[in-house]
Amino acid sequence: MRPAVLNIILGLLMLALFVASMAVGPAELDISESVRGLFAGGGEAAGIIMREIRLPRALLGLGIGFTLGISGAVLQGFLRNPLAEPGIIGVSAMAAFGAVLIFYSGLAGSTLYALPAGALLGAVVAVLLLLALAARSGSTLTLILAGVALSSLSAALTSLVLNLSPNPFASYEIIFWLLGSLKDRSMEHVWLALPLMAAGWLLIALSGRAIDALSLGEEAAASLGIHMKRTRLLIVMGTALGVGAATAVAGTIGFVGLVVPHLIRPLTNRLPSRLLLPAGLGGAVLLLAADVAVRLVLPTGELNVGVLTALIGAPFFLWLVVRSRREVFYAA
């Protein structure tokens, strides 16, 4: 499929789901009320609901989904492994731990800014650790194993911090951090996270040529003029910024970065740089769809969105492992 066509189709799908996300919620608003509420000013209930509750939720679903999709695509291109994604290499988990550490300990007061500050700190530490490891070994396997270890360690530390926090009820919030949710997010969260995520997208886009060259392996890529150190920095900072910001406001949402690039790759010519934009759009589509579903599937209340992405993603991951002859990087 031609890239422009693919991107337009995904873009339209994304817009449709964005609108659908705005139309779903416990308050039953008909279409005219919703539209009027969205664009009118003032203190009308419909307007407040649309502008302060549903709009931020839809924007975050779009932005976070895009971030997770594009981060998964760039990591798979860089690590030359179709099983890589930000959750697996431990960036999401460390970001959650960082956010929890800074916020619940009261070190930064209880301002909302503590969250992305902590999350970025956690993501950067994860990244530095992984860079140090990659410099020593260079092997993809080592990187992924380190990520698995980092994820487990971070989850344990997150539970520990929540248990020890001054607020006796903080440990109940672990569900949010481990399974993610977009419930009742506000425009404050949007302004907090979206600029950081956009910066991440930019850095990732700049690494496009490098990940194409890496299709030939690291040595050939270096001989084609790719600065391996600079590329590593771009990719790692790009994913840290994006995934860190996303985790800070929505908790850990997994598997989007794994499933989406894999589904979309056969529709492209498989050049890693060509996959970046459609994977981002596809990620937005997936997350918006999941976020709509979690609000519809229960009669009252809603599921954590990470539950749904895990329900889709984990079996998919198993299927990938079993059918490992498909979509491998290198067929010997």
């Binding site: 040529r209 299709s215 040595e219 067929a331």
Partner: protein, 258 residues
């Protein structure tokens, strides 16, 4: 372009792999790099490609190679690694087109000129018919030709290839050497490492023989590839023959000293 190496030393993991390497390649030459496994051929090529740290001097047309940025070096010197990696089920044409990366500005699509160079490279390596197929579905030998085509498409004055002929069938081995000769006639400087002694003898203008990290011999095939040399460097006995094209060398057995 003239490729000059002086006093090149490379140490890896504390072990001295190359010692005092010196050689000079002129434009329009195909130079064969020979030597047993572990002699340091790949390391020498990696050093020229800037992939391992080396002390000593490496100059291309007078320019000091290590001081060039990777992008600038990529326009002067194409490197074909020994390991054959083709990723992601990319099509043959897309893979070969990757060779144009050093010449393309960021975000700009390949131009008509780029496409022409890619087509020429495909034709040169006799894979034009495979252009649309996923490279991962091809045989090992076909994949090897795809990767050479990528290096050819890079259109650099110098081309360094690490054992490009291994795994190719006899016809395609000869076609590959013919292609390299043609590139040399266009003015490129070619350094190719080979294990097939006959190929080296018949197709290279000069050969450089490495033994244990040092240059053991250097000169035209006729001068250098003597039975004594072969016994000394490879530890083999060989049957020598000649036809009007050149030498024919067939290793026949191991020397008694082994």
């Amino acid at each position: 372009m003239r490729l000059e190496v002086e006093n090149l030393d490379v140490a890896l993991s504390g072990r001295q792999v190359l010692r005092g390497i010196a050689m000079a390649l002129a434009a329009g030459e195909v130079v064969g790099l020979l030597g047993p496994n572990g002699a340091g051929k790949s390391t020498l090529m990696r050093a020229l490609a800037g992939l391992v740290a080396a002390s000593g001097r490496m100059r291309l047309d007078g320019e000091d190679l290590p001081s060039l940025s990777p992008a600038a070096r990529a326009r002067l010197l194409a490197y074909l690694p020994q390991a054959r990696i083709v990723g992601w089920r990319l099509s043959v044409r897309d893979l070969v087109r990757l060779g144009r990366l050093p010449w393309r500005r960021f975000g700009v699509s390949p131009t008509e000129a780029d496409e022409k160079i890619v087509e020429d490279a495909l034709a040169l390596m006799d894979i034009a018919g495979l252009a649309g197929r996923p490279a991962t579905e091809l045989s090992g030998g076909e994949q090897a030709r795809v990767l050479i085509a990528r290096a050819v498409a890079q259109a650099t004055p110098a081309l360094i290839a690490d054992e490009p002929a291994s795994g190719l069938d006899p016809a395609h081995q000869i076609m590959m050497m013919q292609a390299l000769r043609r590139l040399a006639e266009e003015g490129r400087t070619i350094l190719v490492s080979l294990h097939d002694l006959t190929l080296a003898a018949r197709w290279c203008d000069r050969v450089v023989m490495l033994k244990e990290g040092q240059v053991a011999a250097e000169g035209s095939p006729g001068e250098v590839m003597t039975p004594e040399r072969l016994a000394d460097i490879y530890g083999v006995t060989a049957h020598f023959a000649r036809d009007k094209e050149g030498l024919i060398l067939a290793p026949t057995g191991l020397t008694i000293a082994r």
